[in-house]
């Protein structure tokens, strides 16, 4: 669905993306996981035609290019910023962005109704975003991105600043879209979200892909072993083990006092092991 081949982009002295290659398959939820400044947004901006790569090539679908207006119709982007007009109603926002993406007439009306219903804003269609809650705005932002029925949808940190309920709603919507055959590229620095949603994840830092695989495979290959930790009187001791429950039983038998915890490998550990720093650094 999307191929990036040896793509690089610099801003002056800063190399934002270095020889990055990715291939996203149709119908998958693909995660781009990395801390702020890792090069995720630059990668997205090049993929959707907002930035020209200094070198390398990007292919949309079979043989399309982000530089082509026609090929960009296959793309929808739920931007991190709320890219909606506060003085236009929810319906007017959708009509406007629909028209800008070439949807008109009866098809436009049908898509607007569908999008409002999809994000549960059909009863607020005449309301203006400046009267909406943060979660409602975020849902309208999503609706504006998918109104023209794109096959490839970029979700750039769509849960920033939303409550857990809205976050779950957004996750549900993403899964519904994916079930309809849409390819989702989910950009985040929250490893829990990537673990929960994504079929495959690319761990990205300093403009490079450090690893790319399914979540399980990444954890298996780069996450290390489970860690059993004991904290007592300010001291702590950790044991890496393939059998954390066995280690736990062993510690209980030895009457070890203290707080015992087991940390299973996750994407955070994967990132730490691959880059030497935490995701939130």
């Amino acid at each position: 669905m999307l191929k990036l081949l040896d793509v690089s982009k610099s801003f002056g002295e800063i190399k934002a993306v270095c020889n990055l290659s990715l291939e996203i398959k149709p119908g998958e939820i693909f995660g781009l996981l990395g801390p702020n400044g890792a090069g995720k947004t630059t990668t997205v901006n090049m993929s959707v035609g907002l930035l020209k790569p200094d070198s390398g090539s990007i292919i949309i679908g079979e043989n399309g290019s982000p530089a082509s207006a026609k090929d960009r119709l296959q793309i929808g982007v739920a931007t991190q910023a709320l890219a909606i007009y506060e003085d236009l109603s929810a319906e007017e926002n959708l009509i406007f962005f629909g028209k800008m993406n070439g949807v008109r007439g009866a098809k436009l009306k049908e898509r607007v109704d569908w999008a409002l219903d999809f994000v549960s804003l059909d009863n607020r269609r005449k309301g203006k975003p400046d009267e909406f809650s943060g979660g409602m705005k975020r849902r309208l932002n999503l609706a504006c991105s998918i109104l023209h029925d794109p096959d490839l949808i970029f979700m750039d940190e769509p849960t920033v600043g939303v409550d857990p309920q809205t976050r779950n709603t957004i996750f549900e919507k993403i899964k519904v879209l994916n079930n309809k055959g849409k390819t989702i590229i989910y950009i985040t620095h929250y490893m829990e979200e990537a673990e929960q949603l994504c079929d495959r994840v690319a761990v990205i830092d300093n403009g490079r892909v450090h690893a790319l695989d399914t979540v399980d495979s990444l954890i298996k290959s780069h996450g290390g072993k489970p860690v059993v930790s004991i904290r007592s009187n300010g001291d702590s001791e950790s044991f890496e083990t393939d059998d954390p429950l066995g280690k736990l039983a062993e510690l209980k038998q030895a009457n070890v006092n203290g707080r015992i915890s087991i940390d299973y490998p996750n994407l955070e550990r994967v990132f730490l092991n691959l880059t030497g720093r935490k995701l939130r650094d």
Binding site: A83, Y85, D87, M100
Partner: protein, 434 residues
Amino acid sequence: MMQIFTLAAKDIKLMVRDKAGFFFTFIFPIIIAVLFGSVFSSGGGTRTFTVLAVDEDNTGPSAEFLETLNNASEINITKSERTGAEESVRKGKYVAFVALKKGFGEASEKVFFGGPPEIEIGVDPSRKAEAAMLQGILLKYGSERFQNAFSDSDKMHSSVSSAKKSLADDGSLSEPMRNNLDRLYTDLDRFFVKEKELNTEISDESSSSENLGMADVMKPLSINVTDVAREKTGPTNAYYVSFPQGILWGILSVAATFGLSIVIERTRGTMQRLRMAPVSLGHILAGKALACFISIIGVSIILLLLAYIVFKVVPASILMIAMAVTASAVAFTGIMVLLSVLGKTERAVGGVGWSVLLVMSMIGGGMVPLIFMPEWMQRIGAISPIKWAIISLEGALWRNFSLQEMLLPCNILVCTGVITFLLGVVVIRKRELA
């Protein structure tokens, strides 16, 4: 192409819904036009002001002089007592008071001796200009009174007789001086008696304008003021002058609003969404420019219609006014695009943009008519498109410009629009497509 119209329609809708923007685009220009029009047209174009008059002499001549002032078109007189007059001027209620001092009447009778009639003017120090005007007005009517005295042979005869009598009583003069003055008065007396006889004969025979009376002989200058009609029709009321200014304020507001809207699109992410749609950056900017252009035309038409319906401002030529409005719209659409790149944030563009527009307006005659500006500033004003927009609008409204005359301001405006638009687009492309 459809996307450009969609973008333009969205921008116009947003502009109309923005309450502050709507006020500055539609209401503020009307206030400016009506306010300036009212100021310029007050008193039918003649400046008048009211002064207090104190008659401390209370004689026939003093009352007569006050009556003359009361009938003057330049000032209004309100009679008052001395104390009340001083108090009113001190409190700023009146510009000045005029006091005819004791002895005004007696001095008026003595044309050839004694001091002149005395008038005191008490002025508000902050109103020097009006005080100077008042002095000029008093001198004018004082001179008229003096001139009228010379035209009255009986009065002059009586005055000379009184002068001769006073001369005889005055012991301060030397003998040779006294003799000289006595000879002069005797000759004058004879002259006025003879002049009266001559005037009587002439009025019996004919009333030929070539026969000169004493009043004419005594005139220091004969000044005739002739109204020379302008080659072109002047404005029939002040709103012809104030509405071009009002329209310009509306245009400036539209340009500022749309310039800011480009930055708002950029900072709030909608520009990014638009650029991801299958439209080019050129389409997006063209949509903005079209919305700005249509809004400027719309604002101009609304203000012109208001001027026509309410203030009877009838354009000299519809074609010329269409040219002026279109050229102004082109100029300020281009300027709008350039304004949008003067900063990267809404605050920067809002601040810098309005500063630039205000300076342009100041030197271009948008705030104060060019005629009131010093010459060097009028020359600098040529760099302001506002000057050319006002000239073109006035040319079409009341200066009765020919097509040839309209071409200069219109061409300057169109060139300004094209150049600023291209400059703005180059900078935006550089920023957006980095």
